[in-house]
């Protein structure tokens, strides 16, 4: 078995603009994903908007500077994640493809293998 991080990226403005009906359909789709994954889904969360992120970087004085906002400014922001445990990449792709963000035109997911110990 192998663990993967599924990173969910999308256009935050489009996420914010969802109607209540769309939001509840979206949540239902995530529940369906979790049910389909069963024990393979180890965890996952939705994240607050990237505008409330805080980033820390080293500064030349040996300390760190704090900045308001995400680490990387990108058009598509990280909106949530899952950690899954499946036999191989084909299984990870098959499961991740069930996420509603894969079907929507303004979002998508990235699958990253987690280094095994």
């Amino acid at each position: 078995m192998a663990k993967y991080l599924i990173l969910i990226y999308g256009d935050e403005q489009r996420w914010d603009a969802m109607t209540p009906q769309q939001v509840s359909a979206h949540h239902a789709a995530h529940r369906a994903f979790s049910e389909a994954g069963g024990a393979a889904v180890l965890g996952g969360e939705q994240l607050e908007a990237s505008s409330v992120a805080t980033s820390l970087r080293a500064d030349p004085a040996g300390g760190y500077t704090t900045t308001d906002g995400p680490f990387l400014e990108t058009k598509e922001a990280l909106g949530g994640y899952y950690v899954i445990d499946v036999p191989d990449l084909d299984a990870a792709v098959a499961l991740a493809a069930r996420l509603p963000e894969v079907a929507a035109d303004h979002s998508g997911v990235e699958i990253r293998p987690i280094v095994g110990m």
């Binding site: 192998a2 036999p87 191989d88 990449l89 084909d90 792709v93 699958i111 293998p113 095994g116």
Partner: protein, 414 residues
């Protein structure tokens, strides 16, 4: 070392590399180690066979030798290795899965996995399935050896780290996965058939790799019509290999090729495959392309080609696989059926097609129709445009020849 042994090892390399490597990789579950051991087994054959004689089954000898090398290496460095996870391989292939139990299919589907970029798929397939050296693969794609080595290393690392499974796809995914494999084979063939730049028009090693791959896939999955069709298509295009370039290295158009040099046996084999492939319903892209190539291959001459049939097949093809290049070829066929004025009309809408804006064959086709209509200054302009769009020296020499011919005729006319 006798010439017999050298020839036998070369033959075993061509015929058995994929099998030896694939079986070794399933055993080692490590592509790098399998590559090393397979290579060593071939080197060992050159040393051992002069003493022992050439074995009855060279492939089996090489597989056993590679496997023993792997065992030694694994015993020696079991602690050092394992910086990357092992290949995900199914423990024991079920007896019911038929073709999926073949190691070569596991290998080819893994090399052409959709999670790898097309560049990586092609490089891995040439290196691991066809057994080309990294230098040869680099040369085929006109990149530095170091660049190609890095590309292959990164692809192998992704297979291990992302756990791309070492197996053939399940039946429900076979269609899309096979498309990727056939796309790779086709790309290798076309790269070899018209080398993008350089002084030679054909790179025979790549063409042979592609045909070898298509033959292997056809042998392992005889019921997949798309494979049958692709094999037929490659064989039919390949019969023109020797007649496409004159003794002096000049490009010879299909219209002017010496058809007596075409291998009739190969055409016969391919035509039977086309018939077989067309039984698949609905017909597939490669089947229709192969049928078009078969009409050309079986025509006694360019003039006596059944252009009505060719236009009809392009009409089917554009429904299945619509692309500006298909439209261009269809327009050329219309010109052949109905005359150069009709051809020019058929080409006209394509001039606004952005995908063809830098496609030299469009300018060349226009130039040819204009020349035949006697519109010489316009023809000269079109040849000039075509010349700026190809880097292949053989094609350039052909176009330059036509250009000066047209200019002379135009001057003569005043």
């Amino acid at each position: 070392m006798t010439a017999d042994v050298v020839a036998a090892v070369a033959e075993a390399h061509r015929r058995d590399w994929a099998q030896v490597f694939a079986a070794t990789a399933r055993f080692t579950r490590d592509l790098d180690l399998a590559e090393e051991c397979t290579q060593e087994a071939y080197a060992q054959a050159l040393q051992t066979w002069p003493r022992t004689g050439i074995p009855d089954r060279p492939g089996a000898w090489l597989t056993t030798t590679a496997r023993n090398r792997a065992l030694d290496a694994l015993r020696r460095e079991s602690v050092l290795r394992r910086s990357l996870p092992l290949l995900v391989a199914e423990p024991v292939p079920g007896p019911e899965d038929g073709f999926a139990s073949d190691d070569r299919l596991r290998l080819v589907f893994t090399c052409c996995h959709p999670a790898l970029s097309r560049d990586a798929q092609v490089a891995l397939t040439l290196r691991l399935v066809c057994g080309l050296s990294t230098v040869e693969v680099a040369r085929a794609f006109l990149v530095q050896e170091a660049t190609m080595a890095a590309r292959i290393t990164r692809a192998k690392k992704k297979i291990a780290a992302a756990r791309i499974p070492y197996r053939a796809p399940s039946p429900e995914h076979l269609g899309e996965r096979l498309d990727a494999v056939l796309g790779v084979v086709y790309l290798i063939f076309t790269t070899g058939h018209t080398a993008p730049t350089g002084t030679r028009l054909v790179r025979a090693d790549l063409v042979d790799c592609a045909i070898g791959l298509a033959r292997m896939l056809h042998l392992l999955m005889p019921r997949e019509y798309e494979i049958t069709a692709l094999l037929a298509l490659l064989l039919l295009v390949d019969v023109r290999r020797d007649s496409r370039v004159s003794a002096s290295g000049r490009l010879v158009l299909l219209a002017e090729q010496d058809r007596s040099r075409w291998d009739r046996a190969q055409i016969g084999e391919a035509a039977a495959l086309v018939t077989e492939a067309l039984r698949g319903r609905p017909p597939t892209r490669y089947a229709v392309e192969a049928a078009i190539a078969a009409v050309h291959a079986q025509a006694p001459s360019w003039a006596e080609t059944d252009w009505t049939e060719i236009v009809g097949l392009y009409d089917v093809l554009r429904e299945l696989w619509s692309s500006p290049v298909v439209e261009l070829n269809r327009a050329v066929a219309i010109g052949m059926r109905d005359g150069p004025a009709a051809g020019l009309d058929a080409l006209a809408p394509l001039l606004a097609e952005p995908a063809l804006a830098t496609y030299g064959y469009l300018s060349a086709a226009r130039a040819d129709f204009l020349r035949r209509l006697g519109r010489l200054p316009e023809a000269a302009e079109a040849y000039e445009e075509a010349l700026t769009l190809t880097d292949n020296e053989v094609e350039r020499a052909f176009l330059a020849g036509r250009l000066s011919e047209v200019r002379r005729a135009a001057d003569h006319r005043g």
